[in-house]
Symmetry: C2
Subunit: 312 residues, 2 copies
């Protein structure tokens, strides 16, 4: 009865300690590139993974569940996973807290022109800019999953004019909702600050491109805290250089770490953060995984299981 931990970017010691406290009888094993021997493959019932090699989990006859170490599962799906083994996204209140903080901070940064005030201090210049009315500042959230809904609700509580877009129709108190390909243009046309919190799937890859950016009003701001694959980098740079998009805040990239020569690093209108919008913290996330293992042990399904149709 063992769990196999497979990640190069997560803190294995903290995960081991907390899972040992939560589930003392769970045999915790680590799979590292240097150590390919995980013991008897028949022991492995659970996998806890970020970005495995394709086919890595095919040889475990008793595998019951693959747990993602992040909210997204694009780092797992399509990597030749064993069929009929449920894949479970990490739905962790700690992740939700971190993401709402990142989104609120960068929305407020642009809404209140804090970059201009920082520049003012650099020049010892006392200059006030006008203050836009929060109630007419139009924020648009791409993606109304757990993270998108939470960020939208918190922005609405600050009295921003918030809209959300999702694949299928959703009704949400306090925000205007749009859906599907047909709704995307209307959603973009009214969005001054765009926040991407979509899952990365074949449908959403490259969704931030020349066509969609051109539908935003002039001077719009783009914040991407989802996946680098949502953005066509060259298209975004062109929209920034033309001035149509006034600024971008990017936490995620096609290649991570972002290569030192990538133009985003030094672009004056781009803020780069190193995939920290919301870090998976074992202190909260391991409790969620432990709860799911307890559910499986008592015959209940873990939550939330990825739908192979939609990919999230």
């Amino acid at each position: 009865m063992a769990l196999l931990f497979s990640s190069k970017s997560d803190d294995v010691d903290r995960w081991r300690d907390i899972l040992a406290r939560e589930l003392p009888d769970l045999d915790f094993r680590q799979w590292t590139p240097a150590l390919d021997d995980v013991g008897d493959p028949a022991d492995i019932e659970y996998v806890l993974a970020w970005g495995p090699k394709p086919g890595a989990f095919m040889g475990f006859p008793n595998l019951k569940c693959i747990f993602s170490l992040g909210a997204g599962v694009d780092h797992l799906i399509g990597r030749d996973l064993p069929p009929n083994v449920p894949v479970v996204r990490l739905m962790d209140p700690g992740l939700t807290r971190g993401m709402r903080e990142y989104v609120l901070y960068w929305v407020l940064h642009h809404h209140r022109r804090f970059a201009d005030y920082a520049e003012g201090q650099n020049k010892n210049r006392w200059q006030q800019y006008g203050q836009a009315d929060t109630r007419t500042r139009r924020i648009g959230i791409l993606g109304l999953g757990v993270l998108g809904l939470d960020a939208a609700a918190k922005l609405a509580a600050l009295e921003f004019d918030v809209a959300g877009w999702s694949r299928s129709p959703k009704e949400v108190d306090g925000i205007t909702t749009f859906h599907g390909k047909d709704g995307l243009t209307d959603f973009l046309c009214r969005t001054e600050i765009l926040v991407c919190l979509l899952p990365l799937t074949p449908d959403t890859a490259g969704i931030i491109n020349t066509e969609t950016l051109s539908q935003l009003p002039s001077g719009a701001v783009v914040i991407n805290a989802a996946r680098g694959g949502h953005v066509v980098d060259d298209d975004l740079i062109r929209a920034l250089d033309s001035g149509h998009v006034s600024a971008a805040v990017l936490d995620v990239f096609h290649t991570e770490p972002l290569p030192p020569e990538h133009p985003f690093w030094d672009h004056p209108k781009v803020t780069v953060t190193p995939h920290i919008a919301s870090l998976t913290m074992p202190e909260t996330a391991a409790l969620v995984v432990a709860d799911n293992i307890r559910r499986i042990r008592t015959g209940q399904p873990p939550e939330p299981i990825v739908d192979p149709e939609t990919g999230y």
Copy 2:
């Protein structure tokens, strides 16, 4: 039946336009340093003011109310005002929105180490720092008036561990409250990020000083969005230089604009903003003043009238 507008820093044209729309019969007069003639002094029933000269409003026999152009009234109180004329603070939902945005932004800035990430981008450096748990981040709000209560509630909604301090006892859902001189030490000892939103009165002047700063835990952050007079500047600089206080965000100063030679401008641990935490916007504030004038005309008291005992 006239209103006298007396401010060098507010936009007289926007105020005149909105008040003309709200109260078409109100005679709007402007008092500027260049134009000391306000017509017949007996016409003046209302004054709308920021920082008048002492005694400026003594010669109006029919004055019914002095309205502050800001949330605070320290710019009015003690300036030889006519006795028995109520002074009314500006309690404007627009001011509340602006202040909560400023407080949330700077709390998140320090909570999530965004200055370190900006420095990382400057060096094209992909480096993640740990993410502190929001639920154990202890924020302390000095002052539980309308602005302090609102900021505290919004921070608590993000799941921060929020406490508040006020002169007299208050009970507030979701936050820990302290009061009076005796409660101040306990409040400071548990506060990692201190936010000052107090009124400036003889009791609160200089409240941020060597003694109170020394009671904060090492590495604390100080945010002052109230009045410059709350801070003993030299004491704060000493606490920053010693490292006991790790950073300060200051929106208000003893002298404004902050003089170019003041050490705050160039101090590496100080963020200076030019009194913009929450600007009075005529679009919302003039509606509040118009409502109060309607109240007075129909025999009701305006709100909120300053208590001469407490000075707020």
